[in-house]
Symmetry: C2
Subunit: 167 residues, 2 copies
Amino acid sequence: MRLRILGLDPGLARMGWGIIEMTGTRLSHIAHGVLTTDAKSGLGPRLLVLHDLLSDVIQRLEPHSIAIEQAFVHKDPSAALKLGQARAVALLAAARAGLEIAEYTPNHVKKCVVGVGHAGKEQVQAMIRHLLPMACVESADAADALALAIAHAHLSATRARIEAALA
Amino acid sequence: MRLRILGLDPGLARMGWGIIEMTGTRLSHIAHGVLTTDAKSGLGPRLLVLHDLLSDVIQRLEPHSIAIEQAFVHKDPSAALKLGQARAVALLAAARAGLEIAEYTPNHVKKCVVGVGHAGKEQVQAMIRHLLPMACVESADAADALALAIAHAHLSATRARIEAALA
């Protein structure tokens, strides 16, 4: 099984993304980055920039699935609104490209990648460096995105093993 | 001055839209409708449907401006998130088409159209029937959208008069 996964940490000002490939049970790093928008622009143009940059990434690197942070219900409604808007254009780009969409909570991802649900950002980054030694990730947003992709890879591999055992 | 305005009442399940044209100070109704999505579909496909249907409306009817309900900070963060997602794809479609984007609070719109900020939905619908007798609007969502367009038309006319007076 060869599966290419795009992990995405959505945000209006900074959207982290990372693509990994799983061949059997082996993970390899493909690419990662951060899409940023200018806070001085209007909301419409900022969403358009995010959508189009992300569509370029999807078109160029051809992932099969997207793993995105679940829309957790934020305590702050204004932050929830901003996050929802950034998430929406990402989901739109993914749906247009026909990608499978998987959602994970931050705690599920940390548990899967670091081993504990309340791991700090530094622990996630250290584990990404360990799991994807060629990746060279400096940004916390891109590390979170790669962690989402890894969590999805693990779940997909587990599912494949269960299906094989039941077949 | 001839200005064609698209008013938009965003929502994930139902998005009301209405287009009016202002020629000098005369308003005329062009078209209106409600875009709906199926709650049984995933969020990505629903956002894609809303975006593409709205883009069709914009392409076919060629408004110059869009007047959209301001993202008020909802008491309920989960509702804020849903609304934000629907709003985002509408703003994306508007930004891609190069439309001017104007945002109004529901109270501003009611004050402008009915005369009082806390008017009920029936009062808005009655005033829409009075202002746009040819419109024949049954849906409250489309009536709200037309009310947004009318509020924007009033403001644009006022601005034009001020500019003319200062010129």
